[in-house]
Amino acid sequence: MSDEDSSGTPENGVRRRDFINIAAVSAAGVGGVAVIVPLVSQMWPSADVLAESTTEVDIAAVQPGQAIKAVFRKQPVFIRNLTPAEIEAANKVDVASLRDPQTLAERTKKGHENLLITMGVCTHLGCVPQGAGAGEVKGEFGGYFCPCHGSHYDTAARIRKGPAPKNLHVPDYEINGTVVKIG
């Protein structure tokens, strides 16, 4: 039939209309998938949230045995000046026996082993552990205790007991004199 000749090649059963059909549905499919990119991407932290990425704290007033809370990315950071007894307690632990094996030296800067800077965010589900404020419970290992689900951290803020999988996270920071720049 003359109609068939104008709409495709009848000998192998493929018509021009089939090509148009596949091309149109493919283009619509690719377009549909491409639309997902902005729809998903808008959920990520926006530019203003990302802009709050560094914090500077003066730690001159923090005496051994004291700790302060700072704010980094809208989350608490614990800056703790360890006493010699606390440093000794942290170093006495058999590192291989730890859930997340790390030494105190690995968690502090060289020359500032007494300065323990960690996120105040429990690695279990994100509560703020107690132990940085005066008079707060420090848990069975003298570091931090998370009241939400009972995680105990030691004097190097390493997880010792309870459901948390990791040690309290040590953020990137640098020390310039008495000023700590986090982030």
Binding site: W44, P45, V49, K74, G126, C127, V128, H149, P163
Partner: protein, 422 residues
């Protein structure tokens, strides 16, 4: 179900005849919840909770849409706008207390509805789809309730958002980025609150859609009944209207008495005082617990404290908590007993009540602090929970010798089918 004796919709007014030809909506309602829906005559009060659940959904949507007119989902004003509703908006206190206690009432009613399904084997063939859709509704309810709880932006709101999104960070590799994606930041913030408000408004209507599917799939086999014996003849059923509309109306009245007691006399009894403190990202409240309706699942989450093989304790807890509900999806195939109702299953019945006790224990532990001996007991209770579904139910359903079933629904009610002529 449309039985041969089901009555057909007959428009009584020329206007209704005209409408029936153009858009047979009255006919749909008549067949769904009117005189055209034939229902077993022997339903007990446990069958009223489905209707009550629908009623609760209506309460939540009506109060919720109104609250949204007065609320602002911005972290700097969200807490104050909630207080503005409580103090300044006309009747705002009633709408908010009605909404907060309405959520608790919705869960209470739905738990009774699920209890009914478990005891009377409502999940069994040919009603599996109704059950599966019901579990979907329950999951959607949990998500909706959680996001609604975040909106007042008090201390409990903030830390609920932190902890629940923290669950997702347990997932290996993608967990932390996923958490940031869900929150739109590194910790709950304005982006989080806004998206939760948006979704909290949307999801109830998704629930409404799934409820319609739930009822649609119910109308294919028709309602189950306390004997678990299928409908055989006209004497086994009565029309939904007026018989069950009247009975449901009566229980709506009873429900409103209890609901009003909470709303008007103890509106904060189920809440936490800490949520009247504005959100503070620097300080976690000493004792954070979810609302009572999440306690059993929260206890399961917390019962995992040790790593196992290469799985972190945190991940195990999260998986167990989700698995505790996902296992319900498999119940129609785990329970292979052809007898539906536990009334005729002496062995299953004993284990059923043990499970109820186990869930109540888990519920108590979920509200208790994360200390011994609560942790150990919740570990044992969690173990039994999964043992019930994965081991006990399949074994019992294959070894049990059920009691004799009545010949028909009519016989179970009247003693013999001869006495059943209406």
């Amino acid at each position: 179900m449309s039985f041969p004796w089901s009555k057909e919709y007959k428009p009584s007014h020329p206007l209704m005849t005209w409408l029936d030809e153009k858009l047979p909506l009255p006919r749909l309602v008549y067949n769904a919840v009117g005189g055209g829906y034939e229902v077993p005559r022997n339903l007990n009060y446990f069958w009223n909770f489905g209707f009550l659940a629908g009623f609760c959904l209506v309460i939540q949507i009506v109060t919720g849409v109104i609250l949204a007119m007065h609320y602002s989902g911005e972290t700097s004003v969200a807490f104050n706008s909630t207080e503005h509703i409580m103090r300044d908006v006309n009747w705002g206190w009633m709408l908010r207390y009605g909404h907060a206690n309405g959520a608790a009432a919705f869960f209470a009613v739905v738990y009774m509805h699920i209890f009914r399904g478990f005891y009377y084997g409502s999940y069994k063939a040919p009603r599996e789809m109704i059950w599966l859709l019901g579990v979907v509704i329950f999951l959607l309810m949990m998500a909706t309730a959680f996001m609604g709880y975040v909106l007042p932006w008090g201390q409990m709101s903030y830390w609920a958002a932190q902890v629940i999104t923290g669950l997702f960070s347990a997932i290996p590799l993608v967990g932390d980025p996923l958490k940031e994606w869900l929150l739109g930041g590194f910790a709950p913030g304005n982006a989080t609150l806004n998206r939760f408000f948006s979704l909290h408004f949307l999801l109830p209507f998704v629930i409404l859609g799934v409820v319609i599917l739930h009822i649609w799939s119910l109308h294919i086999p028709g309602s189950s009944n306390p004997t678990g014996v299928e409908v055989k003849s006209e004497s086994d059923t009565v029309p939904f209207h007026p018989y069950y509309t009247a009975k449901d109306g009566w229980t709506v009245g009873l429900f409103m008495i209890i609901y009003s007691l909470f709303v008007f006399f103890m509106p904060n009894a189920l809440g936490h005082p800490d949520n009247y403190i504005p959100a503070n990202p620097m300080q976690t409240p000493a004792h954070i617990v979810p609302e009572w309706y999440f306690w059993p699942f929260y206890a399961i989450l917390r019962s995992f404290t040790q790593n196992f093989l290469f799985f972190e304790a945190k991940l195990l807890g999260v998986m167990a908590m989700f698995a505790a509900i996902l296992v319900w999806f498999f119940l129609p195939w785990l329970d292979r007993s052809p007898v539906r109702s536990a009334t005729y299953r002496p062995l299953y019945r004993k284990f059923f009540w043990l499970l109820v006790a186990d869930v109540l224990v888990l519920g108590y532990l979920g509200g208790a602090p994360a200390e011994q001996p609560y942790v150990l007991i919740s570990q044992l209770a969690t173990m039994y929970y999964f043992l019930h579904f994965l081991v006990i139910v399949p074994i019992v359903s294959s070894i049990e010798r059920p009691d004799p079933l009545p010949f028909s629904i009519t016989e179970s009610v009247l003693g013999s089918d001869g006495a059943a002529k209406l």
